[in-house]
């Protein structure tokens, strides 16, 4: 292992019970963090504590358990909002990034996007930032266009600015690509989009877990992220929306909690963010997300980022030595998130993943929910290794050894 860890990885690893597990007799080398991260015991214990001590429905209870659950739920909202530079009223709890973009599609898009309008997304998006807009545009008779990419896998600004001239109603793009790792200059893009009169939604699924995010300085209108990719539980995530926008939106789901009064012929709505949180919310996992935020905050997001940049740098230089290795994405580690997509000669990513699994190494293989990008890259699939706080140089070493082995098996 190389020196100069900015994070104390050994200590961090001790917090993650799953890292003690053996996979096929080998130490688990978990490099599928862009799909979902592992959870520290602090998060697992927060769930256990909730269910063992104060489980109750929230907001409408006068009894002690209900008050405790409500307080913890709202405290978690406050923590999570603060973590991304928002106020609690601007943070809607959702299942994850996908529900967040779909919420915006239904509650904002169905109201504000009209026939003939233009919606922009980019060629590097995850399906969750494409398909909702396809469905919206189809439903409304609007047009969806894709901002192109440069050969170095960054966003093509000329394409972006050209399309902005057509006056889009909505511009959707990712903060950090889950395939290429490309980090977009969100504040510059949002400023331009705002000047062009467009509303912006940023997919932060691969950013919030890996770097300091401040929605205020980014200047976006909406920002979406998933808890399970940031050490939190599955089933919870967040949608930030500018207060004024949230206020003027239609509700999304109808039901309990989101209403003020229900009459036979109409209903009136609760204040934001509750207007968008119909029914019993995912109480335990919201509280678990709060624990994950505490964990990341204690580590320091700048350190987390620094750690991943170092790992990336090491990985890029080490893996380049493997025969047949080809990387997809910006080559400069400081311009990209901790995501490394690659292929190895004609070894199909699924075969590669099977061979690596035998070594206890978990990577992802496939289209990564980014089929348009795969077509742009002219591949049917890639392999992807992605990092988080418990990964270290030894994981990269294990990956390299695994790739060498695959090369030998495939006689490259």
């Amino acid at each position: 292992m190389l020196e100069t860890e900015t994070l104390d990885v050994e200590r961090i690893r001790a917090d993650f019970p799953i890292l003690r597990r053996k996979v096929r007799g080998k130490r688990l080398v978990y490099l599928d963090n862009a799909a979902t991260t592992q959870k520290p015991r602090q998060v697992i214990e927060a769930l256990d504590d909730y269910y063992s001590r104060y489980n109750s429905n929230v907001h409408r209870s006068v009894h002690t358990l209900g008050e405790e659950a409500t307080e913890a739920y709202e405290a978690s909202r406050k923590k999570t909002a603060t973590f991304i530079g928002a106020t609690p009223k601007e943070l809607v709890f959702v299942r994850g990034t996908t529900e967040a973009t779909n919420l915006v599609r239904f509650a904002w898009g169905e109201k504000f996007v009209k026939k003939g309008d233009l919606v922009l997304t980019t060629m590097m998006e995850h399906h969750s930032n494409i398909v909702p807009w396809q469905l919206l545009c189809k439903n409304k008779g609007a047009t969806l266009k894709f901002v192109g990419l440069n050969p170095d896998c960054t966003l093509d600004l000329a394409s972006f600015e050209g399309l902005l001239k057509e006056g889009p109603r909505l511009v959707a793009f990712t903060h950090c690509s889950n395939v290429l790792g490309t980090i977009n200059d969100v504040s510059a893009l949002c400023a331009k989009a705002a000047t062009a009169g467009a509303t912006t939604i940023v997919d932060g699924a691969q950013a919030v877990p890996h770097m300091a995010v401040d929605v205020g300085s980014l200047g976006c209108d909406f920002y979406a992220f998933s808890g399970h990719k940031m050490l939190g539980p599955t089933g919870i995530g967040g949608l930030y929306g500018r207060r004024a926008l949230l206020e003027e939106m239609e509700p999304f789901h109808g039901g309990g909690e989101m209403i003020r009064e229900v009459f036979l012929d109409h209903s009136t709505w609760n204040d934001v963010p509750y207007k968008f949180e119909a029914g019993t919310v995912n109480i335990a996992d919201s509280i678990g997300l709060g624990a994950a935020v505490d964990y990341l905050t204690a580590l320091g997001m700048d350190k987390v980022r620094e750690h991943e940049v170092r790992l990336l740098k090491y990985a890029l230089s080490e893996l380049a030595k493997v025969k047949g290795f080809r990387h997809y994405g910006p080559e400069d580690p400081s311009k990209k998130g901790g995501v490394l997509s690659f292929n190895m000669a004609d070894v199909h990513p699924h075969d590669l993943a099977t061979i690596l699994d035998e070594e206890g190494i978990a990577i992802r293989s496939g289209h990564h929910c980014a089929q348009p990008l795969m077509r742009w890259l002219d591949v049917s699939a890639t392999s992807r290794a992605s990092f988080h706080v418990y990964n270290s140089h030894d994981d990269v070493d294990a990956l390299r050894a695994g790739l060498e082995k695959a090369g030998a098996i495939f006689r490259l």
Binding site: H59, R60, S61, V62, T64, G66, E67, T70, E71, I259, R260, E261, N270, D271, Y274
Partner: protein, 140 residues
């Protein structure tokens, strides 16, 4: 503090025999609020008296003993005071008025509903009559 203390004679009395309960025929200020979580509702009406004072005041609504007693006691306290006085009324004043009951967070909202309605109404009136006033900012 036990609930027997919270629901002392005073609060029960105001709950069952609310002072200033009802509607004014003529009024200058009217406000309404409800608590979406529990459904409690309070309306208040004020007839402004001489020198921007609270001349007459009545409230109505439905809700628990705490919210209704609190609203009722507040109308008694407010009657005859300057409208400006409303700006200074604090949570603590309301709790004191109720005898400092120990209330959980959800019941605190009940206790403060009347104050919220009173402030909403009076602030709105002062804001709208800003020009008529002596030049000082009523919302300050």
């Amino acid at each position: 503090m036990s609930s027997a203390d919270i629901y002392r004679e005073l609060i029960l009395d105001y709950y069952r025999n609310p002072r200033n309960f009802g509607k004014l025929e003529r009024f200058d200020i009217e406000a309404h609020d409800s608590n979406p979580l529990c459904g409690d509702e309070v309306d208040m009406q004020i007839k402004v008296g001489p020198k921007n004072s609270i001349g007459e005041i009545k409230f109505s609504g439905k809700g628990c003993a705490i919210s209704l007693a609190s609203a009722s006691m507040l109308t008694e306290l407010a009657k005859g005071k300057a409208l400006d006085w409303v700006k200074d009324v604090s949570k603590e004043d309301v709790f004191k008025m109720l005898g400092n009951p120990e209330l959980g967070p959800s019941r605190v909202k009940c206790a403060l509903l009347g104050m919220k309605v009173l402030k909403t109404g009076v602030y709105g009136y002062l804001g709208a009559h800003y020009e008529d006033a002596d030049g000082s900012d009523p919302m300050a």
